[in-house]
């Protein structure tokens, strides 16, 4: 099984301000389409999630 693992961390709450899940940083559409995304698209999403997380950490005064 070389499939790309789901980035879900079981928080599953959409943040109204960012439009991203507070746990995994995906948009609603990315979560909804995960099960039909080809692996290369999933890998691309995983990379983007890292960037979104860094942006959130960078802008969060609490670190």
């Amino acid at each position: 099984m070389n499939a790309v693992a789901s980035p879900c961390v079981n928080v599953c709450v959409m943040d109204d301000a960012t439009g991203l899940c507070r746990g995994c940083y995906r948009t609603l559409d990315e979560i909804a389409r995960w099960s039909v995304m080809p692996d290369r698209e999933k890998r691309a999403v995983i990379v983007i999630l890292e960037q979104r997380k860094k942006i959130k950490m960078g802008s969060d005064p609490c670190g």
């Binding site: 099984m1 599953c12 959409m14």
Partner: protein, 305 residues
Amino acid sequence: MDNLLPATIRVLERGWLSSNNIVLHDDAGSGSVIDSGYVSHGAQTVALVRHALDGRRLERLVNTHCHSDHIGGNAALARVFGCTITIPAGEARNVAEWDTEALHLDGFGQRCDRFSFHSTLASGDTLTMGGLHWQAIAAPGHDMDALVLYAPEARILISADALWENGFGVLFPELYGEPGLAATRATLDHIATLEVDVVIPGHGPVFGNVSAALERAYARVEAFERDPERVTRNAFRALLVFYLLDRQAAGFDELAGLLAQASFFAMLNSRSYRLEPGALAQKLVGELAAAGVLRVDAGLVRPAG
């Protein structure tokens, strides 16, 4: 992986606290959903289901079994969409009376919003959803009243927690003195007789290599048959991790309190480890941290990753 399913079936792959939700387009204006995730994820479940309905009304919600991770969004979906709710026939009394012990809520440290159901489904019944005819098939094991749904025309199986790509759900009935392990084997035997090209499990990804998944499931059954204590250890670990996915963090005192006061944990402890709850909390957390499933920082236990 290319999409193995017709466009009328939209699988919302969730995590472990929430079950997957399967949205089916019944016609241009209406749809159905199978299973609704955990109560604390209700808002996201509603949003995802609305997205997957693509403008349709949600007419009907069907549950494969009534564990908190599969029925938690029922009340919210019914409130928002006005859908009917159909549950397995064997759960009718428990849900009608909202028996929180029988529903594995209070005694397991789990939560769920109460809901009313409109109809029940029994093994042998058929349903039309997503333009396909589905047979409800009894799938006892993880839950003695559970159903799986099989569409022979499309060779699709909605397997709930009876069969995942890698394993199946905790064998609670076995721990209550019911023949859960034997039932699991019989359920796998029945699934093995069906012509299935695609499985939509209750957790984890949709998969196509059904025989490989069955092989892994049988190996797990055999391991439990050789060492029945493993069923108990698996139940403790899975339930503790589930509690922490729900709470997101807990101190050792809280976990010791859970192990002492939640009746299922207390019962299991008295029949197996027989440790003082604080010591049991330390032991279980230690094992799960070593396995990379939990982490501990500054005295707080959290899910890892």
